[in-house]
Amino acid sequence: MFVVFTAGIGVLFLLGHGRVRGTLEEETRTNEGLRHYLIPRVVGQLLIPFIILFGLYVQFHGEYGPGGGFQAGAIIAAGLILYALLEGEKHALNVVPQKVLLGMMAGGAILYTTVGIFGMLLGGNFLDYSVLSDNTVKGQQMGIILIEAGVGITVTGTLLAIFHAFAARDN
């Protein structure tokens, strides 16, 4: 998971600054997405809630079916990217601003390591979840759910941040 975090940092480092789109006219020209195309817009808007719901399902049901933090993060990010493509990139940034994305990137990573360190503080080894609760199996499950949440948050944030870094770039 730290790999994707690193890549996110890298892309933001490379593209996050400098020639980001500036003037107002350009913004209106390029930021409208597919607003004037009725059918893709209606169909797309119908799909987005389901995509995000499916993402959440994959996140929280990952223990019972196929899925987990990374897949969920990718799916949710895909849903929000679809929104950005339909409504224009600026609208999407209004929904989830860049600052929030950065916070998600870092927050997920911090959550992951903190859970690991908690295992250490409670007398186990690093990433030992069995000590998180009296019942070792319960502890393992708690640990996995928390870690998966961390992974999901970071992946969603990073993939979206990467997408916006590309999309906001002036050609």
């Binding site: 998971m1 593209l15 079916g65 196929p66 990374f70 990467i162």
Partner: protein, 118 residues
């Protein structure tokens, strides 16, 4: 059937080399990254093939799956991580390509080398 048993490995080899050829021979930077992505997916195929058991099912326990043979979960875990690595490399690579295009106005390797020589 003996030869067919190795079919997946052969596809792995061919796919690997198609990707590798693209990375080596193509001068377009985006094409190189596409080749790299193919190259990496070939490796995913190798690992997942390794974990497969004939007649097995996905390693998810459930009431109906009692007594089933499961395929090996470990390679799948590894490949999940490797897919993450793959997308990270692609994203960073594309970021660099975009910056190269901004600085040099080209994404062809030989043209860029030409400009640097001057």
């Amino acid at each position: 059937m003996d030869i067919l048993g190795l079919f997946n490995y052969w596809v792995f080899a061919i796919l690997l080399m198609i990707g590798f050829y693209a990375v080596l021979a193509k001068k377009n930077l985006i094409k190189k990254l596409i080749g790299l992505a193919l190259f990496q997916s070939a490796v995913f195929l190798l690992y997942i093939t390794v974990g497969k058991v004939k007649g097995g099912t996905a390693p998810i326990f459930s009431a109906t799956a009692e007594g089933d043979v499961f395929s090996n979960p470990l390679p799948q875990v590894l490949i999940l991580t490797a897919i993450v690595v793959g997308i990270s490399v692609t994203a960073l690579g594309l970021g660099i390509v975009v910056r190269i295009r901004e600085e040099y106005g080209s994404i062809e390797e030989d043209e860029i080398l030409e400009m640097d020589r001057q």
